[in-house]
């Protein structure tokens, strides 16, 4: 531990000298690694704000009755929590941070295909995020929930238009990142890296990028239609103006369900990198994983109607969407099977990234299987719009994407920052985060099954114990997150210097220095072997 305060070795991308130095050097840099870290910093801040809002809501729900706020404030709070977490944290999360940092390195390229466009995407992300934050000030913050459902969103007197504009701008950022990644994967792969020699994280980013490019414009136009309806009173969605509210739900979910796959596919890609490394085993069923990623992207595009089973959609449509929803469970299950099979007979090294990874699988399975309850027409009638739904999507989005993000940040941290974090503290933080998560969200399944509706700031006495346990879980979770962030921030400043390949990984990022040099490789890369040749 003598090297704790040792400076990073020279020549890394941190030493990059462009036209400007210091903070301006970062803000004008088109280096994919710097942009990835800038996304990380923004997303971390937004995540902590979202967590704080969630914590305040759980404080309110600790006991029945109004504690610290009125119903309108609570409505505003869950709306902002949703907008921040969905549009500013989980959608850009893995692909903008780790995709930007690692996609070019993992395919043997010097940068993404369009570096300036990449920086522009970050600025759009920042602009959209700023507008979202501003929507909370000057009048009342929006109270529609992150879904902006019509006709309420059309008639709400709160700052819905500003929040919708923010989501529109954030969508543009997402489209441009997706476009950049598609072209990068097609055009920038190193010599010898055929499609089926490409690591699985880039594969998942590629599948995600197609959804970003093809689905996001639909929500963009839809959100503009909401603004047009609010300001010009054109009757698209509001029945009193001759519109159709179900049309809004179709258009919104045509994007927003695939958005779940925008979140989860890179998460699956990250854990697919971690498992072979920490088991020192060739990944089981490489091609099945690739094809399942593409299948999830493809079929996942066509299941949006399962959000609308109780909205008044046609019976035939409900059956079709229910069927498609069940179909998408198959490629997801293929992935879980492949992860487990990869671990089988492996030399498993149980370190923090692996702990988050196996928690991811555990929670993703609970989230996935409870999704089938919601995808079945009969049971959905009972549990729709209850805490069961809240528990389900938090198990997928936080237990899945969030935990995969935590796994990825611990896995790639030594490569990104050139320093090691405290493993013991990392493990303790994982134990607290995992326990807090389970305490927070599992009781919500029971509350939902017993009829507790979502988005209510008060509840009947029979739901007290469930809410109490859930709130305690939230506070435990927050403690764990603070500990994890503290460990990583401390390590980034004073951690022990990391070797180039601390986990004995085989993909290209482990063959360059930690942190990587400016253009990643000091020679042209030629790939001759499979990315997971451990045996």
């Amino acid at each position: 531990m003598t090297s704790k305060t040792t400076a990073l070795p020279p020549g890394s991308f941190f030493d990059q000298q462009g036209k400007y130095k210091g903070i301006l050097g970062w803000l004008t840099s088109t280096d994919h690694k710097r942009i990835g870290i800038m996304y990380l910093m923004c997303i971390l801040v937004f995540f902590l704000v979202g967590v704080t809002l969630g914590g305040i809501m759980k404080l309110e729900l600790l006991r029945p009755g109004a504690q610290y706020m009125d119903a309108q404030t609570y409505n505003g709070m869950f709306t902002v929590h949703g907008i921040i977490m969905i549009f500013m944290v989980v959608i850009p999360g893995l692909s903008a941070v780790f995709g930007n940092f690692f996609l070019p390195i993992m395919i043997g390229a010097k940068d993404v295909a369009f570096p300036r466009l990449n920086l522009f995407s970050w600025y759009l992300f920042l602009l959209g995020s700023t507008i979202a934050v501003l929507s909370q000030f000057g009048g009342n913050g929006p109270d529609t929930g992150w879904t902006f459902y019509a006709p309420y969103a059309i008639n709400s007197k709160t700052n819905v238009s500003t929040a919708v504009l923010a989501a529109f701008v954030l969508g543009f950022s997402s489209i441009l990142t997706g476009l950049n990644f598609i072209v990068t994967v097609h055009r920038m792969r190193a010599k010898g890296m055929t499609w089926f020699k490409m690591p699985l994280f880039p594969w998942s980013l590629y599948a995600t990028a197609w959804i970003q490019v093809l689905a996001t414009p639909i929500v963009g136009i839809t959100l503009l239609m909401v603004i047009a309806e609010r300001t010009l009173r054109i009757g698209f969605f509001d029945p009193s103006l001759g519109g159709d509210p179900i049309l809004y739900q179709h258009l919104f979910w045509i994007y927003s369900h695939p958005a779940v796959y925008i979140m989860i596919l890179p998460a699956m890609g990250a854990v697919t990198e971690i498992i072979p490394t920490f088991c020192q085993r060739k990944v089981f069923g490489y091609q099945a994983i690739v094809l399942s990623s593409l299948a999830i992207a493809g079929v996942g595009y066509l299941v949006w109607g399962h959000h609308m089973f109780t909205s008044g959609m046609s019976d035939f449509s409900r059956m079709a969407f229910s069927f498609l929803t069940f179909i998408v469970a198959i490629p997801s299950a293929i992935k879980v099977f492949n992860w487990i099979a990869t671990m089988y007979k492996g030399s498993i090294l149980i370190k923090t990234p692996f702990l988050y990874t196996i928690s991811f699988i555990f929670q993703f399975m609970i989230g996935g299987l409870t999704g089938l309850t919601l995808g079945a027409l009969a049971t959905d009638i009972h549990v729709h719009d209850t805490y069961y739904v809240v528990a389900h999507f938090h198990y997928i989005v936080f237990g899945g994407m969030g935990f995969a993000f935590f796994a990825a940040i611990h896995y790639w941290f030594p490569k990104m920052f050139g320093r090691m974090y405290d493993e013991k503290l990392g493990t303790v933080a994982w134990a607290i985060v995992f326990s807090g998560f389970t305490l927070l969200y599992f009781p919500m399944f029971i509350l939902g099954l017993r009829g507790m509706p979502r988005r209510y700031f008060d509840y009947l006495p029979e739901y007290s114990s469930g809410h109490f346990i859930s709130s305690i879980g939230a506070f435990v979770l927050i403690i764990g997150i603070i500990l994890m962030v503290y460990n990583l921030v401390k390590a980034a400043r004073t951690g022990e210097l990391a070797p180039a390949n601390p986990w004995n990984g085989r993909t290209l990022e482990w063959k360059v220095a930690s942190p990587p040099p400016l253009e990643n490789f000091d020679h042209d890369v030629e790939v001759t072997e499979h990315p997971y040749d451990y045996e």
């Binding site: 055009r187 093809l214 179900i246 179709h250 045509i254 595009y301 066509l302 109607g305 008044g312 959609m313 046609s314 019976d315 035939f316 449509s317 079709a320 969407f321």
Partner: protein, 94 residues
């Protein structure tokens, strides 16, 4: 990965396509004046599809591009068609 292989479309071709697009626009407008009932939406959509195809093929050079780009564009159009069909599962059977 064929770089440097470019196709320059003549001003004449661009001009012809522009005139065609304007002509098709007049058809769309004319149809709104004629009372053809439910067919008016169908005609407008059909004309819009032809116009979009002309823009894609000539102005966006898809006609002269490699096969892979044509396949990708075709897949996107197919996806759009599937989304339309699935959405109409609701509207036609409601």
């Amino acid at each position: 990965m064929q770089h440097g292989k470019t196709h320059i479309t003549s001003y004449r071709t661009h001009g012809i396509i522009l005139v065609l697009l304007l002509f098709l626009t007049t058809i769309t407008i004319t149809v709104t004046w004629l009372d053809v009932g439910r067919l008016s939406v169908g005609v407008a959509m059909f004309v819009a599809c032809i116009k979009a195809s002309l823009v894609l093929l000539y102005f966006m050079h898809l006609k002269f591009d490699e096969l892979i780009f044509k396949i990708f564009a075709g897949m996107v159009i197919l996806l759009l068609a599937i989304v339309f069909v699935i959405t109409f599962f609701d509207y036609l059977f409601r």
